[in-house]
C-alpha cells in the first residue's frame, strides 16, 4: 500500500489497458476463490452479493489479477484487464455500449466500457448494478448466456465476446428499496457468491494488514465491528463496514487516539441519531482505553 502513497503523479490508463498489476491483498473467508475460478473457467457470470465495504470490489480485483492471461507461453500471467463501472441511476444502455459523437467531419463512434471489455476479453465489473436503468438489462441478457453476444444496436452490429470476457455484477440486497430489486430473469443468469463482513478473527487480520497496526488494536476494532453490527436495525443499515474499521485503524496508525479515531471513522460516519451515536460511543469507550 505504501507504494501507492508514494506515487508522485497520477497514471493514466486506457480503460481496456488497465489491469491490476500488483497482487491486491485479499483474505479468503470461504471457498469464494475456487468458486470464482471455476466459474471463470466455465465462463459463468458471477453475482457478488453483500453489504457495502465488505470487500466485493477487492475480491474482483484480486481475482482479475489471479486470472491473468498467460504471457507468451510459460511463466507469470499478465493480469487480466478489469473494467469497473459504478452504476448509478442515470446510467443507460448507451453509457455502457457506446455512442456517436459529433466532430468536424460528422460523427464518430465511441465504444462504451462494456463493448471494450467484450472486445478485449476483460472482466467487466458492474458495481451496484440495480442502480442502473432498466434498459441495461437488454444488454446483459444476451451476454450472460451461452451466446455471449453484445448487440450494438446503433451501429447495427453484434459483437461476440472475446474469450477472456466475463461479466461480474455486484448487488447489495440490504439497502436498495423493494422497487430496485434485481429482476429474476436477470438474477438467474448468474451464480451468486454471498459476502458478509468477515468473522472477527478474519476481520482482525484484514484490519491489521490494511491499516498496518498491531494485532491488539486490530482485534479491538474487529470486536467493535461485531458489536456495532448488533445494532443494525437502529438506522445503521448493515452496520459498520470493514472499510470504515480499516480507516479507523489507519488513523490510529498515524497517532490518532483510538477513541477519537473510532469516533470520526465509525460513530459519526454511521449515524446522525444522537442517541445511537451515544450508544456506539459507549461501546467504543468500553473497548478502547
Amino acid at each position: 500500500m505504501s507504494e501507492t502513497s508514494t506515487r508522485q503523479e497520477a497514471t493514466i490508463w486506457q480503460a481496456e489497458e488497465y489491469s491490476v498489476t500488483e497482487e491486491p491483498y485479499y483474505l479468503p473467508i470461504g471457498d469464494e476463490i475456487p468458486l470464482f475460478e471455476a466459474a471463470y473457467e466455465q465462463r459463468i457470470p458471477v453475482l457478488l452479493k453483500g453489504p457495502t465495504g465488505c470487500g466485493k470490489t477487492r475480491f474482483v480485483e484480486y481475482m482479475a489479477h489471479r486470472l491473468g492471461k498467460p504471457m507468451n507461453g510459460a511463466g507469470d500471467n499478465a493480469p487480466r484487464p478489469l473494467i469497473t463501472v459504478a452504476c448509478h441511476e442515470d446510467l443507460t444502455a448507451s453509457d455502457l455500449v457506446g455512442r456517436y459523437l459529433l466532430d468536424a467531419e460528422g460523427t464518430r463512434w465511441i465504444d462504451g466500457p462494456l463493448t471494450r471489455s467484450v472486445k478485449v476479453g476483460a472482466i467487466c465489473y458492474l458495481d451496484e448494478v440495480v442502480e442502473a436503468r432498466k434498459d441495461t438489462t437488454v444488454l446483459i441478457h444476451p451476454l450472460t448466456d451461452y451466446r455471449r453476444l453484445l448487440p450494438v444496436e446503433k451501429q447495427g452490429q453484434v459483437v461476440e465476446a472475446a474469450d477472456g470476457f466475463l461479466l461480474v455484477i455486484s448487488y447489495n440486497p440490504g439497502y436498495q428499496s423493494a422497487l430496485k430489486d434485481l429482476k429474476h430473469s436477470t438474477r438467474q443468469r448468474f451464480i451468486s457468491i454471498e459476502f458478509d463482513y468477515p468473522p472477527r478473527e478474519h476481520e482482525m487480520e484484514i484490519i491489521q494488514h490494511e491499516a498496518a497496526i498491531d494485532a491488539g488494536l486490530a482485534g479491538d476494532l474487529a470486536k467493535l465491528g461485531e458489536k456495532v453490527r448488533n445494532l443494525r436495525e437502529h438506522g445503521l443499515g448493515e452496520g459498520v463496514s470493514t472499510r470504515l474499521l480499516i480507516y479507523a485503524g489507519k488513523l490510529m496508525a498515524k497517532g490518532i487516539s483510538p477513541r477519537r479515531a473510532c469516533q470520526v471513522a465509525v460513530t459519526w460516519s454511521l449515524t446522525d441519531d444522537h442517541e445511537v451515536q451515544r450508544s456506539i460511543e459507549e461501546v467504543v469507550t468500553s473497548i478502547f482505553e
Binding site: T92, N230, L231, E275, S279, I280, E282, T285, S286
Partner: protein, 1089 residues
C-alpha cells in the same frame, strides 16, 4: 373627722341608691388611698367615681369597679396615673359601660405591667377596637380584660401591632378576632420574645390578604415558626409576609409548606437558604417562598454546594421574566429541570436507559431491554430485591439511579459497569450451562457425583442437586462465575477496566472482615475477596492454609480466557468440597499473628486440586457425597449455620437456576419443539419442590401468605412471564412513550374486558414563563368502547347522496396522482423546450444536456392523516336551537297555535331527536372514513376529553394500523360528549402517533366546537390565553415535525382565537354547522391535493 370620713359622709346618700357593695367598695377604696394622696386628690377621686355612677343606667357598675380598684393599685402608683385612669374611664363609660368596666377592672394589674405613665396609650389601644356597636365593644372589653396577660408577653409598642391585627380581623369577623385575641397571650408566650413581633407582623399581613387563615395561623403558627432556626425566624416571617402582602389567598399555605421544608433542612443551612430566598424576594416573593419550599426536593438531586448555581440560574431567569422565574422555582419549568439535571451528579436510569439498552444490545447481540429493577421485583417471579442489578435472560435490570460519586460521568461509568456485568452474563454464557457438556480447564466430575439423573427441570437444578447445601453451592457458583465474567469483561473491554477495578477496590474496602466470622463463612468471604482481585486482602488462619491454597489455585483458573460456565461449575464443586471440609466454628480467639495471606497452590488445568490431598478421594474421582453433607454438619455441636456473604454491589443478583427455568418455559410457550418443556409440563408439585430447594428464591420476601398460595401465585407469574415475549413489554420512557399499562380485565370471561389504558406524559407550554412544564399532562389512551351495531351503515344510508358525491370527489383525486416529469434522458416524448436548448448549446460548442424527454410518472400517494375529535361536554349542544327561536315569534299572538306547534314539534323531536354537534362530528367521521377508504390513505381517528392535567382521556376509534372493521364501526357510535377540552396534550399525542407512521405527507385535523378549556388550563376558569398558547405551541410542534395541522371549528366565535392559535396554519370556521359532513371531505381533498 378625717378627709376619708368626710368624703364618705358627703357621698353616702348618692351611693345609697345603688346595690350595697358600691358603698363598701367606695369605703374600702378611700381607706386604702387616703394615706397616699392629698385631700384634694382624694376628693377628686371620689367625685370621679360618683360622677361615673350618674352617666347612664349601668354606669354605676363601672363606678363599682373603679372604687374596687382603689385598694389594688400598687402603692407606688402616682396620682397622675389614677387621675388619667379616671378621665379615660369617664370618657369610655360615656360610649360603652362594659368597655369602661373592663378597663377599670384590669387597670391595677395592667399598670403593674406597663408602668404608670402609659395609661393613655393603653386606653387608646382598646378604644381603637371600639366601633360604636356592641360587638366591637365586647371585643375592646376583651382586650382590656386580657391586657394584664398580654403585657406579660408583649411590650406596649408590640401590643399596638396586635391591636392593629385584631382591628383588621374584626372588619371581617368579630368572632375570629375575639378567638385570636383570646389565644394571643398563650400563643405569644410560647414564642421566644424576639419572635413575637415578627409573628404579629405576619399576622397583620395575613389578616389583610387572607383573613380566614388567621385562625389556622394562631393554631399552628407557633410550631411552624419553631421549625426555623431561631435567629432567622424574623427574616423568614418577613419573607412569608411579603407573599401575604400580595393579597395571595394561599399565603398561609406558603408559610406552612416553607416552614415544613425548613424543618427538613439542617438548621446550619437555614441562614444560607433564607439569604438566597431574600435575594429572590426582591423580584418575586412567590419565587422566594417556592425556593424555600422546594429546596429539600432539589437537595435530593444535587449537593448543598450545587444549590448556589441552581439558585443563580433561576435568579437570572427571574430578573428577565417574573413568570419564567416563578415557574423555575416552582419546579414547573423544563429549563429549571435542565439546570438541575446538569448540576446533579446523579444519573437516572430513565435518562440513560435507551443508550444503555443499545449498548447492551451491541455487546450481547441480543434484543435485550433495560428496565428498573423494581419492575423485576414487581413481577413476583423470584426476584425480590428492588435495588440490585440483575437479569432474567431477556432484560437487564438496573437500579433506578446511580449516585455513588460526585461526578455525573463517574456515575454513568458506574452504570455502565453494572450494565456490562449483566450483559456479560448473557454474552459469556452464564445461563447456557449444560450439565452434560465437559468443561475446558477442569476435568469433569459432574456425572460421577450424580445419584439419579431424572426429576430435574433445568440443567442448573440438576447441577445444584449434586450438593446438599444449596445455599453454599449457589453462593460459590455465583463467586466462580462472576469471577469468570469479570475476567472476560476486563479482557474483552479494555475501556471499562479502569472503572471496574475502581469498583472492585471500593467493594473490597467496604467488605466485612472475615475475622469476625465463623470459619466456613470466612472461607466464602475470602473467596469473594479473591474474586474481586483482592488476593492481598485474604485474611485466613494460617493453620488452615492448605484448603485455602487449593481454593486460590482453582479461582485462578477462572481467569483463563478459555474458561466456560461449566468450568465455573466444576470449580464450584471443588470449592464446595473444600468449604465442607472446614468446620464452621468461631475464630475470634486466634491471635493477630495467626492470620495471614495464603499463596495459591498451582493448579494445572487437569490436575484435581484435592488429588492426593487429605480430603481427596481415590484416584481421579474424589468422593464427594461423604464430605458434602453440608446441612448435616451444620447441626453438629459448636458449628454455626452457614450464612451467605454480603452481596457484591455491581454484580447484582445472580439467579441462574430461575433464568434457566424461565428460558425453558419461554421456549415452551413459543410452541417450540415437542421435546421442549411447556408450561403445562411443569406441575405445581414440581414447582413447589423447586421453590423449596432453590436457594435463589427467597419465599419470605417474595410474598406473604402461606406457601401454597404463594407458590400458586409464583407459578402463574412465571407462566405469565414466559407467555409474553419480552419484546412486547411496555417500557418506561419520557415523552411519547407509554409508562404503564394498567388493568387488563380481571376474572376473564366474567365481565367484559376493561379497556387497556396506556399513560403517556407530555410537557405543557407556559407562555408566561416562556418554558415548558415538564411531564405536566398525563394522556390516558384507551380504545373507545363499541357502541350500537348499525350506526355506521345507518349513517351511510341516511346520507346516501352525500356519500356518492364525496366518493366521486375522492376518486377524482386519483388521476391527479400522475404528474409529468421533465428532463429525462428517455421518456414518452421529446420535450420541445429542452430540444431547442440542446440545439442551441450544440451550435455553441458546449456539451449539451441530453435530457430531452418527459414522461408521466405515477406519484405514490403516501398520506397519513389523524383526525382528532373534540368530545367535550359542550358538543352536547343542539344545533337547531336558533331555528326554534326564529319560529317562536310567529306564534306570540296566539297561544293555542303556539301550543299545537309546540306539541307537534315535541312529538317530532321524540321521533327524531334533535341533532347535536357531536352527532354531526360523528357523521362527518363516517363520511370521511368511507372516502378515505376509496383512496387508501392511512388514517387514524381519535377522540379526546378529560378533566385536569392528570386525566386527559384519549380515545382510539381507529388507530393507524387498524383496518376498518365492524368493531371500529361500532366504536364510532360511542363518540359522546364527556368533559373538558385540553387540546394541547391531545394534539401532542396525535402528533406522536403521526410521527410513528412513515408517510411522506402527514396531516393532523383537529375538529372541535370551541376554544380549549379545562380545569387548571390557565390561571383561572375564565382565562383563555394560557390554553390558547399551549394549543398553539402544540400545533407548532406538530408543524416542526413535518406535519400539516389543520383546525376546524363550528364555534362561530372561532375566528377570534383560531387566528391566534393557528397564525400561519390552516383553519376554518364552518359557518353553517350542518354543512360539516359535506365540508370535511372537501377540505381534506383540498389539503392533500
Amino acid at each position: 373627722m378625717s378627709i376619708a370620713g368626710e368624703l364618705l359622709a358627703r357621698h353616702r346618700d348618692r351611693l345609697a341608691g345603688f346595690p350595697g357593695p358600691l358603698t363598701e367598695h367606695f369605703e374600702a377604696g378611700l381607706k386604702a388611698l387616703s394615706p397616699r394622696f392629698s385631700p384634694t386628690q382624694l376628693q377628686q377621686w371620689a367625685e370621679t367615681g360618683v360622677e361615673l355612677t350618674a352617666l347612664n343606667l349601668r354606669s354605676w357598675e363601672a363606678a363599682a369597679e373603679y372604687f374596687k380598684a382603689g385598694p389594688e393599685f400598687d402603692p407606688a402608683t402616682p396620682w397622675s396615673a389614677i387621675e388619667h385612669l379616671g378621665n379615660e374611664a369617664m370618657s369610655m363609660a360615656g360610649d360603652s359601660t362594659p368597655l369602661a368596666i373592663s378597663f377599670v377592672r384590669s387597670a391595677p394589674a395592667t399598670l403593674r405591667m406597663i408602668g404608670p405613665d402609659h395609661v393613655r396609650q393603653w386606653a387608646d389601644l382598646g378604644r381603637r377596637l371600639y366601633k360604636g356597636n356592641w360587638k366591637s365593644s365586647a371585643l375592646a372589653a376583651q382586650f382590656y380584660d386580657l391586657s394584664p396577660d398580654l403585657f406579660g408577653v408583649l411590650r406596649l409598642s408590640q401590643a399596638s401591632r396586635l391591636a392593629v391585627f385584631v382591628d383588621e380581623l374584626s372588619r371581617h369577623s368579630y368572632e375570629l378576632a375575639s378567638a385570636c385575641l383570646t389565644a394571643a397571650p398563650q400563643v405569644l408566650s410560647d414564642l421566644e420574645p424576639d419572635d413575637r413581633l415578627p409573628f404579629i407582623t405576619y399576622a397583620v399581613e395575613l389578616a389583610q390578604s387572607s383573613w380566614a387563615d388567621s385562625r389556622l395561623y394562631f393554631e399552628r403558627g407557633t410550631p411552624l415558626v419553631h421549625k426555623v432556626h431561631q435567629p432567622l425566624r424574623e427574616r423568614f416571617l418577613l419573607l412569608a409576609a411579603q407573599v401575604a402582602r400580595g393579597h395571595n389567598r394561599s399565603a398561609f399555605q406558603y408559610l406552612e409548606e416553607a416552614a415544613n421544608s425548613m424543618a427538613q433542612l439542617d438548621p446550619a443551612t437555614h441562614h444560607r437558604v433564607v439569604e438566597m430566598s431574600e435575594k429572590l424576594a426582591v423580584y418575586s416573593p412567590y419565587a422566594a417562598m417556592d425556593f424555600i419550599i422546594n429546596t429539600p426536593t432539589v437537595l435530593e438531586v444535587v449537593r448543598l454546594d450545587e444549590l448556589d448555581p441552581w439558585h443563580e440560574g433561576g435568579l437570572q431567569i427571574l430578573k428577565s421574566s417574573r413568570d419564567g422565574g416563578e415557574a423555575y422555582f416552582r419546579l414547573q419549568s423544563t429549563r429549571g429541570e435542565d439546570v438541575l439535571e446538569n448540576l446533579s451528579a446523579r444519573v437516572e436510569l430513565t435518562r440513560v436507559g435507551e443508550v444503555l439498552r443499545m449498548y447492551c444490545k451491541a455487546l450481547t447481540g441480543r434484543d435485550v431491554h433495560v428496565h428498573a429493577t423494581a419492575q423485576l421485583a414487581e413481577k413476583g417471579i423470584g426476584w425480590s430485591d428492588e435495588q440490585r442489578a440483575s437479569t432474567e435472560g431477556t432484560t437487564i435490570y438496573l437500579p433506578e439511579m446511580m449516585e455513588r460519586y460526585h461526578d455525573k460521568d463517574e456515575n454513568f461509568a458506574a452504570f455502565k459497569v453494572f450494565a456490562t456485568h449483566q450483559a456479560g452474563r448473557l454474552e459469556f454464557g452464564s445461563f447456557d450451562f449444560d450439565f452434560d457438556r465437559p468443561a475446558v480447564v477442569l476435568e469433569r466430575q459432574r456425572p460421577a457425583r450424580e445419584e439419579t439423573s431424572s426429576g430435574f427441570v433445568t440443567d442448573m437444578e440438576r447441577f445444584f442437586d449434586l450438593m446438599p447445601n444449596r445455599k453454599l453451592a449457589s453462593d460459590l457458583f455465583t463467586i466462580t462465575e462472576d469471577t469468570r465474567i469479570d475476567a472476560s469483561v476486563k479482557r474483552e473491554y479494555g475501556g471499562i477496566r479502569k472503572p471496574l477495578y475502581r469498583m472492585q477496590e471500593e467493594e473490597l474496602e467496604r467488605r466485612p472482615s472475615p475475622r469476625q466470622m465463623p470459619l466456613r463463612d470466612a472461607f466464602v468471604e475470602n473467596m469473594v475477596r479473591v474474586s474481586l482481585g483482592g488476593s492481598d486482602f485474604i485474611e485466613w488462619p494460617m493453620e488452615h492454609s492448605q484448603p485455602m491454597a487449593l481454593a486460590l489455585g482453582i479461582m485462578e483458573l477462572m481467569l483463563r480466557p478459555e474458561a466456560t460456565v461449566e468450568d465455573a461449575a466444576e470449580a464450584t464443586m471443588r470449592l464446595y468440597t473444600l468449604a465442607s471440609s472446614i468446620p464452621n466454628v468461631a475464630t475470634q480467639e486466634l491471635a493477630e499473628g495467626e492470620w495471614g495471606n495464603v499463596e495459591p497452590m498451582e493448579s494445572s488445568g487437569q490436575a484435581m486440586p484435592m488429588e492426593g490431598g487429605e480430603m481427596g478421594g481415590e484416584g481421579g474421582q474424589p468422593q464427594f457425597g461423604d464430605v458434602g453433607e453440608g446441612e448435616g454438619q451444620e447441626g453438629e455441636e459448636g458449628e454455626a449455620d452457614y450464612s451467605s456473604p454480603e452481596p457484591v454491589d455491581f454484580r447484582g443478583d445472580f439467579k441462574p437456576e430461575l433464568v434457566q427455568l424461565l428460558m425453558k418455559l419461554r421456549d415452551g410457550a413459543e410452541g417450540g419443539d415437542a421435546g421442549e418443556m411447556s408450561p403445562a409440563d411443569l406441575t405445581p408439585e414440581q414447582l413447589a419442590e423447586l421453590m423449596e430447594k432453590s436457594a435463589e428464591i427467597d419465599l419470605d420476601s417474595l410474598m406473604e401468605g402461606d406457601i401454597d398460595s404463594s407458590s400458586g401465585m409464583f407459578l402463574s407469574n412465571l407462566m405469565k412471564e414466559a407467555g409474553t415475549p419480552a419484546s412486547e413489554k411496555d417500557h418506561e420512557k419520557g415523552e411519547g412513550e407509554p409508562t404503564s399499562d394498567s388493568s387488563t380485565g380481571e376474572g376473564e370471561g366474567e365481565e367484559p374486558l376493561q379497556p387497556i389504558v396506556t399513560v403517556y406524559y407530555y410537557d405543557e407550554w407556559d407562555f408566561r414563563a416562556q418554558d415548558y412544564k415538564p411531564r405536566w399532562c398525563a394522556v390516558k389512551e384507551s380504545k373507545l368502547q363499541a357502541g350500537e351495531e348499525n350506526f355506521y351503515e345507518n349513517t351511510l344510508r341516511e346520507h346516501a347522496g352525500l356519500v356518492q358525491q364525496t366518493r366521486k370527489q375522492f376518486e377524482l383525486l386519483k388521476p391527479e396522482m400522475f404528474r409529468k416529469i421533465k428532463r429525462l434522458p428517455d421518456g414518452e416524448d421529446i420535450d420541445l423546450d429542452q430540444a431547442i436548448e440542446w440545439m442551441v448549446e450544440h451550435k455553441a460548442g458546449v456539451n449539451p444536456n441530453e435530457k430531452l424527454y418527459w414522461r408521466r410518472n405515477k406519484v405514490e400517494r403516501d398520506v397519513a392523516v389523524a383526525f382528532l375529535i373534540d368530545m367535550s361536554a359542550s358538543t352536547d349542544e343542539e344545533i337547531n336551537k336558533r331555528d326554534r327561536q326564529q319560529d317562536d315569534g310567529d306564534y306570540d299572538d296566539d297561544p293555542r297555535k303556539y301550543l299545537s306547534w309546540w306539541v307537534s314539534k315535541r312529538r317530532q323531536e321524540l321521533a327524531t331527536p334533535p341533532k347535536r354537534i357531536i352527532d354531526l362530528e360523528k357523521e362527518s367521521a363516517v363520511l370521511l372514513m368511507t372516502a378515505l377508504e376509496t383512496i387508501g390513505d392511512q388514517y387514524g381517528i381519535y377522540g379526546f376529553s378529560g378533566y385536569g392535567r392528570d386525566n386527559v382521556e384519549f380515545f382510539v376509534i381507529k388507530d393507524f394500523d387498524e383496518r376498518l372493521d365492524q368493531p371500529i364501526k361500532q366504536r364510532l357510535d360511542n363518540i359522546t360528549p364527556i368533559r373538558s377540552t385540553r387540546m394541547g396534550p391531545a394534539l401532542r399525542h396525535a402528533t406522536h402517533k403521526l410521527n410513528l407512521t412513515e408517510a411522506k405527507v402527514k396531516i393532523l385535523v383537529l375538529l372541535s366546537d370551541g376554544r380549549p378549556q379545562d380545569h387548571g388550563y390557565g390561571r383561572d376558569r375564565t382565562e383563555k390565553e394560557y390554553a390558547i398558547h399551549d394549543t398553539k405551541q402544540a400545533l407548532n410542534e406538530a408543524k416542526r415535525d413535518g406535519i400539516t395541522p389543520f383546525a376546524l371549528t363550528v364555534d362561530r366565535a372561532g375566528h377570534d382565537y383560531l387566528k391566534t392559535m393557528c397564525e400561519d396554519m390552516g383553519y376554518e370556521v364552518v359557518a353553517d354547522i350542518e354543512a360539516l359532513p359535506s365540508r370535511l371531505p372537501t377540505l381534506y381533498r383540498r389539503l392533500t391535493e
